[in-house]
């Protein structure tokens, strides 16, 4: 019981919501929804934007925001795709090059934000144009296809019925949960996000922490780019542009405080699961347009904000009485 209490309240709420939803979906659409194939598709789809949401989420925890996730992912996909097209270039090397590219993009964001002190929103607003521009330039403005079979096969591989992409997502989620929750660096990200000035006076190297955070975000986005390269067999400079807003939305739904300092990786992961299931569930109704998803997300975002707001208010009142 005590364990349950110390668990992040938001994660607890989201988990309950997830199971409640599964129950409703199972009862109403058990035959067409609770199918392995549906879950496999979901696993593949959510991995990409789920990862970007984690990247954006940690930046929001650090007190900023990363609007460039999607474009970093596209750039990384294009870099990997172009390298793989060259005969004789090993696939693993292309993958590493893509991940390095992601980290470099992130580090560039970090440099703009921590060294040049450009507000994160503006810095990544500018850099996403830049990354997109570079993608257009190196890909010649068209989609990069012709991916070696050996790599694109990864998009359809399953391990015990679980898509490999989802396993990658899961692995990164676990690693990041540990990183944010248990390591010194992670703890410092939370502290810098709460109050950068206090952090400086407490001997935290803000520049290092912020650069690291954005680098990590870039790296994770790079992984997302690689996953989508495998899934759709191509990469393009303007692929998935609507994901940017979705990522922020998921992060906030998952309990990340837009002002920084609070939020958890498991929360983001569960928010991704809920939203993907919701939209897949809606897909099982043939006469409901897929676009409804947008509305539901929007309502969910604002609804969750309002619920958190009310609960937080009560909590503060309770804590004030305790001391």
């Amino acid at each position: 019981m005590k364990k349950l209490k110390t668990m992040d309240e938001n994660v607890l709420r989201l988990t309950i919501l997830l199971f409640a939803f599964l129950l409703i979906a199972g009862v109403t659409k058990g035959d067409s929804f609770l199918k392995v194939s549906i879950f496999q598709t979901m696993g593949k789809q959510l991995s990409e934007y789920g990862l970007m949401a984690v990247g954006c989420g940690i930046c929001m925890i650090s007190g900023g925001i990363d609007l460039s996730c999607v474009y970093v992912a596209n750039l990384c996909g294009i870099v990997a795709g172009l390298l793989m097209q060259k005969s004789g270039f090993p696939i693993w090397a292309a993958v590493i090059a893509a991940i390095v590219t992601g980290a470099a993009c992130g580090a560039f964001n970090g440099f703009l934000i921590s060294c040049l002190k450009i507000p994160a929103m503006l810095a990544t607003l500018g850099s996403y144009q830049l990354f997109q521009g570079i993608s257009v330039v190196i890909s010649g403005g068209s989609s990069v296809g012709n991916i070696p079979k050996a790599y694109s096969a990864f998009g359809s591989v399953t391990v015990m019925g679980i898509p490999a992409a989802f396993l990658v997502f899961l692995a990164i989620i676990i690693a990041m949960s540990f990183f944010m929750g248990k390591t010194v660096f992670g703890t410092r990200i939370y502290l810098v996000g709460t109050n950068a000035k206090s952090a400086m006076f407490a001997g935290i190297k803000n520049k290092t922490i912020l650069t690291g955070t954005y680098m990590l975000s870039g790296l994770i986005s790079g992984c997302a780019g690689l996953l989508s390269l495998a899934r759709i067999n191509s990469a393009k400079a303007d692929f998935g542009t609507s994901y940017t807003m979705q990522c922020i939305l998921i992060a906030v739904l998952g309990g990340v405080n837009p002002n920084g300092g609070f939020g958890s990786i498991p929360g983001i992961a569960i928010a991704v699961l809920i939203l993907q299931m919701l939209s897949s569930y809606l897909n099982t109704f043939p006469d409901i347009s897929n676009y409804y998803r947008d509305s539901i997300w929007g309502i969910a975002l604002i609804g969750v904000l309002i619920i958190n707001f009310t609960l937080e208010k009560r909590k503060t009142a309770r804590q004030a009485k305790m001391n």
Binding site: I65, L67, L112, L116, K117, I118, P119, M121, L122, A123, L125, G126, S127, Y128, Q129, L130, F131, Q132, G133, I134, V136, V137, G140, G141, K197, M200, F201, T241, S242, M245, Q246, I248, L249, V252, P258, N259, I288, S289, N290, Y291, Y292, R293, D294, S295, I296, W297, G298, I299, L301, I302, L305, I306, F309
Partner: protein
């Protein structure tokens, strides 16, 4: 005179203006076609919609924070206006269609305003959420698709304020009537922001919300009003966009918000609120429009467009930081944490 110079140098608008001049001269030098009448008219034409959006972005930024919902408000409200025009078979003057659009825009803006004022959530997140909601309504509930415009708007769209043709190249260009709408919106906005107490209130609440409340400004009403008006301006922009492309294109709206925000920030709007002018808005929009429209004239491939825009935004936003470093090294302002 020297005083005036000093004052100018301190203004961001002045620097943006200088960059515009330099860029224009460079393009002219390389292509000889920048100052051609058709190019100028083309740029003016391309500026109409972004410049209208820029007013929305400015009002939100100065008073509250970023608003990213205007493209979807534009899309949904202009859709509703057009559908209602078709439904009723209305064929009177064009501005009635605009008024219908503005009505719906105001409703959507009111939703933004209500949530932001009531709960004090960050405006970025709220408008993100409502954008998503509006997008779902537009494409999901209404299943909006591209369509022709009603006759009244078609007639309005085919009216031109001025047509020019370049004698050398034979290329022509026309400035649509919507340009007048842009001018009217800017004039009204300028008058309200500078000569009414409500307009000053927009700056006051952006400067210090609590002080504004104590001074007697109705902070909630002003903030709510701003979002309602933003909705209305967005609706106007949406209809202008449709009129200028002679078609309603539901998926062409989303995604424009970030460049517009970039434009007003380049024009000197401060992210923390309270600072930003319409002049800066126009200049910032002009600069980015020039980059999108005219780089090709200078022989730079369109592929490089985004790289340039990104570069300009980064350099533009880094200027305060660079100024700070230059000022800081003289050891003028060292207090507390600012030293590091």
């Amino acid at each position: 005179m020297k005083n005036l110079m000093n004052k100018l140098i301190k203004q961001t608008e002045f620097w943006v203006f200088m960059i515009i001049i330099v860029l224009a001269l460079l393009i002219q030098a390389r292509s000889g076609a920048f100052f051609a009448n058709n190019n100028i008219v083309d740029i003016m034409r391309s500026m109409i919609c972004p410049a209208l959006y820029a007013v929305c972005a400015l009002l939100a930024f100065v008073s509250t924070g970023p608003d990213v919902s205007f493209p979807l408000i534009a899309a949904l409200s202009s859709y509703l206006a057009i559908v209602i025009t078709y439904g009723t078979g209305y064929d009177g003057p064009w501005f009635v269609v605009y008024l219908i659009g503005m009505f719906f825009g105001a409703l959507m803006g009111a939703l933004n305003g209500f949530i932001i004022v009531k709960y004090k959530f960050p405006s970025l997140i709220v408008t993100l959420g409502t954008s998503s909601l509006f997008s779902g309504i537009l494409l999901g509930a209404f299943e909006a698709e591209r369509m022709e415009l009603p006759d009244t708007l078609q007639r309005f769209g085919s009216m031109n304020l001025l047509t020019v043709s370049n004698e050398k190249t034979g290329l022509g260009s026309a400035l649509p009537m919507t340009f007048l709408i842009l001018i009217v919106v800017y004039l009204i906005a300028y008058a309200v922001l500078n000569f009414t107490m409500v307009g000053r209130g927009v700056y006051a609440i952006g400067g210090d919300e609590i002080s504004a409340e104590r001074a007697g400004f109705d902070v909630k009403k002003i903030r709510f009003g701003i979002f309602v008006i933003n909705g209305m301006i967005a609706a106007v922009a949406g209809l202008c966009y449709s009129v200028m492309s002679m078609k309603y294109l539901p998926t062409e709206f989303a995604g424009g918000e970030m460049v517009v925000i970039a434009a007003i920030v380049l024009g000197g709007a401060r992210l923390t609120g309270g600072v930003g002018t319409l002049k800066g808005c126009l200049l910032g929009t002009l600069l980015l429009t020039m980059v999108t429209n005219s780089l090709i004239l200078a022989g730079i491939s369109v592929y490089w467009q985004k790289v340039f825009i990104g570069g300009i935004i980064i350099i533009g936003t880094a200027i305060p930081a660079i100024q700070y470093f230059l000022g800081g090294s003289r050891g003028k302002k060292v207090k507390g944490g600012e030293a590091a």
